[in-house]
Symmetry: D2
Subunit: 271 residues, 4 copies
């Protein structure tokens, strides 16, 4: 049921915490709001506030929040994607996912993801503002970038993949929504061999997409359905990359949404 | 604007991370769902899944989520509560909070709250299953409990207050919704003197309430409006208390809801 | 339970249908959308579309709709308003209205309101574009306007009250939201004596309000709580008034929202 | 843009009103609620009430409503369905329908549908409780039923098709959700030749479906996309059929949801 969460050990968490040096922490979330980044065809996040005011001497406010579980910065549950009728671990998709939610692999099976975060700043390593629309990141790029950053990806790591694409969101929303740079199919064995728990990227879908909607999502198929790995999207990595904080203690705390297919998150990195 | 967040320092975070011993981590969230704990008069959290199935060979699911920002395990923004027309730092409530949200003290001003978590297990210290309806926890109780646990509350700490009341949620929902045990007005100077950043409790509202709806919420008035301190509610503290994990690295990562008055959270404690 | 619905008879409906002359019909609804007219402190209506496109050769769309039951053109259920703790017919408000909805007087008790519609075009009769902010319409105004229009209000009628205020919505939203012209307390005996079933007006709240939020809503108190009469708001009466169609067959068809406190409506007048 | 609304004339409305005899009226809506009838894979309708109680001497309640535009008793806009990339009148689906809504053929183009309602009580004519799962209603059945009822379908009519299937909703929800009886492809020329404005049925989708989800929806394709005709679903026809009220004045008043693909409705029939 847990997929790559099985790679998360107390030892790994302890070691990751032991690497904290400065105590400087980063929120890797974009603003969660109606006009924030999200998969273009999707329902838009929205927030409404009801308020009361100086009734019986008090004032206050609280909100009704309507959102998509996969908009803004978010994590995909293993129930988010499958193919050929079968989910991760061979569960039948039609049986376990209905309009009432998922009875297998829902996000409330993920209490947290904690481990060493490894920032692979591909855009920084390539000395570009951001990668281009449809520009692939290959397995070899991941290796070379890690080497250039003098870091070695290990079992239990959480990869933070920076393509710079989130800069495009602010500069040219139409371009941002047309597709994205991201990892390509050559990374499939890399993902398996490196035993990472999760990968979060500063784009819609982690993987390279030339046109949205795409005709295939091979990384989603392979990582979620075949490996049981956690994909995380729309990360804000500008500040942590500016600090060249390639190593950190990363804490991912999904909302415990019963039967949900994912959750918005505010990922935290502590260096 | 930040209230007690000013007490959060890199040194405090570094020291808290340095206390991690075993690497065992805890999710302090209850399930976030329609029937979860929440302030009785409030709108109920809900989740709906839309799914697609074996279209073009893929399957998948995602959710539309409708929720109250203050249901289940959650944090109050400083815009959540005020009195005499004035919010924390003297801002005018009617001017800054409308049906469009808060223009001061909204939850997106809180990127994270990280620090040493100090569990004060009042129910454990009193050797009871749980405190009773309307049973107050006084400043002296906090001090004695800390002493019994051999721990000293310091500036920058995050208090985890356990009354055992969340056990009542599972056993007797009607009783749970009638009121709660919690801290009383004698703790107001204590809260100020100890410079804690935030306090999270295993009940609706942190403070003692004999009847819901109450005629006053003095802790809300004082902590939020006067001190700028963060209140957090409906924590699940059973597992961490069973382990007597009185000290931990606590990471609170509110959703970055633009203009929101609070956020559901999944608080993480690492020991 | 039904209040003034008891005044709706088959004879009244038959007679109203018998008055149809031209067959010209009117929708008296404003656009129902986030930026449409609504009580300023209220949660905003919102609509999201999910779409699918050319999957297996089909395309299509459907919507998730989030709205306030009392935004845009709408009807108030008798559970919408009460005072001194008692609802219409003496039911206890705290007992019968909770966050789960109303167990008395909810909108699903109103299958329809059908009868003769009588347009009282106060702005037209006064030869003004629209009445002013806080300008009262007194019982005597109603009588004189009816007389000038050569129409007599009868038991079972549905009053369409035109102040012209909806013109202000398009011209000056801030002014529209500050208050409104409407009927004043002198109309309370008039409402009772004329045995009308319902009254719909082209403003927020039917009644005159100098400042929103108001300190009292006497028409709501009296009409809803004491008379069991149906108030309807934000009607679009420009077209029907331009045609001087003072008499019509009016059909009000609230959504059958179980336990709801009101419903958006699209009122129809046939002349 | 209007499709069969072009068949709605003042003369037709006047004549329909002229047929009102008794003044007895019917609501043809089922309860609109989370557990009401709806297309099984769809998001569930929900309603939440916020209430206030005896504050400053008043009490009251209003609701936040979350619903699917196509759940419960509802009408399909012409933007709801298309094929081969083209909507009614040749508009491009991908261009005109996005996650922001429809820019062609949305429901706010339908101010009302008014005309003579013709109840074709197929189940009554066949002397059965209800038609069976997957049982087709052919063009010849429509003709014979009309003849048996001594009624002639004319241009501008609104067909109320009763299969009795709504009885199954109460008796056996699982069966109701598995498929339905309804009109088959032989009715396609019948629909075109009779120039009806709209057809409402007591099932999910008007047309016969053996298994949900179906592999094709030929009536949706032809009626909506090719004819521009309005389909309406989940009608409650038990009471009007029991009265053998085959002819009525029918008033359909969709909510004026800007850019929406449909609307819940409370259809009214007056006899």
């Amino acid at each position: 049921m847990l997929g790559t969460l099985n790679l998360m050990t107390q030892e790994g968490i302890r070691n990751a915490a032991g690497r904290v040096k400065s105590g400087k922490a980063y929120s890797l979330s974009v603003p969660l709001e109606a006009e924030g980044p999200q998969w273009p065809p999707r329902q838009k996040l929205w927030r409404i506030t009801q308020f009361w005011n100086d009734l019986s001497n008090w004032g206050g406010s609280c909100d009704a929040v309507i959102m998509h579980s996969h908009s803004g910065t978010h994590i995909d549950a293993l129930s988010h994607f499958w193919y050929n009728g079968k989910m991760y671990n061979g569960f039948d998709g039609a049986e376990h996912v209905t309009s009432y939610g998922a009875t297998r692999h829902s996000i409330d099976n993920v209490p947290f993801i904690i481990g060493r975060g490894v920032l692979l700043d591909i855009a920084g390593w390539k000395w570009v503002e951001h990668l281009g629309l449809g520009e692939p990141v290959a397995a070899d790029d991941l290796d070379q970038c890690a080497k250039a950053q003098n870091i070695k990806v290990q079992s239990g790591d959480i990869i933070l993949l920076r393509t710079g694409w989130m800069r495009v969101f602010a500069q040219d929303r139409a371009l941002f929504d047309r597709g994205e740079p991201g990892i390509d199919e050559s990374t499939l064995p890399w993902l398996k061999d490196h035993d990472v728990i999760a990968i979060g990227a500063d784009n819609h879908a982690v993987e390279v997409i030339e046109n949205i909607p795409p005709t295939d999502l091979p990384i989603h198929r392979y990582a979620i359905r075949d490996l049981g790995m956690y994909l995380m999207e729309n990360f804000y990595l500008e500040e942590i990359a500016a600090d060249k904080a390639y190593e950190s203690l990363v804490v991912i705390a999904p909302l415990s949404l019963t039967a949900g297919a994912g959750s918005p998150i505010n990922p935290i990195a502590i260096t």
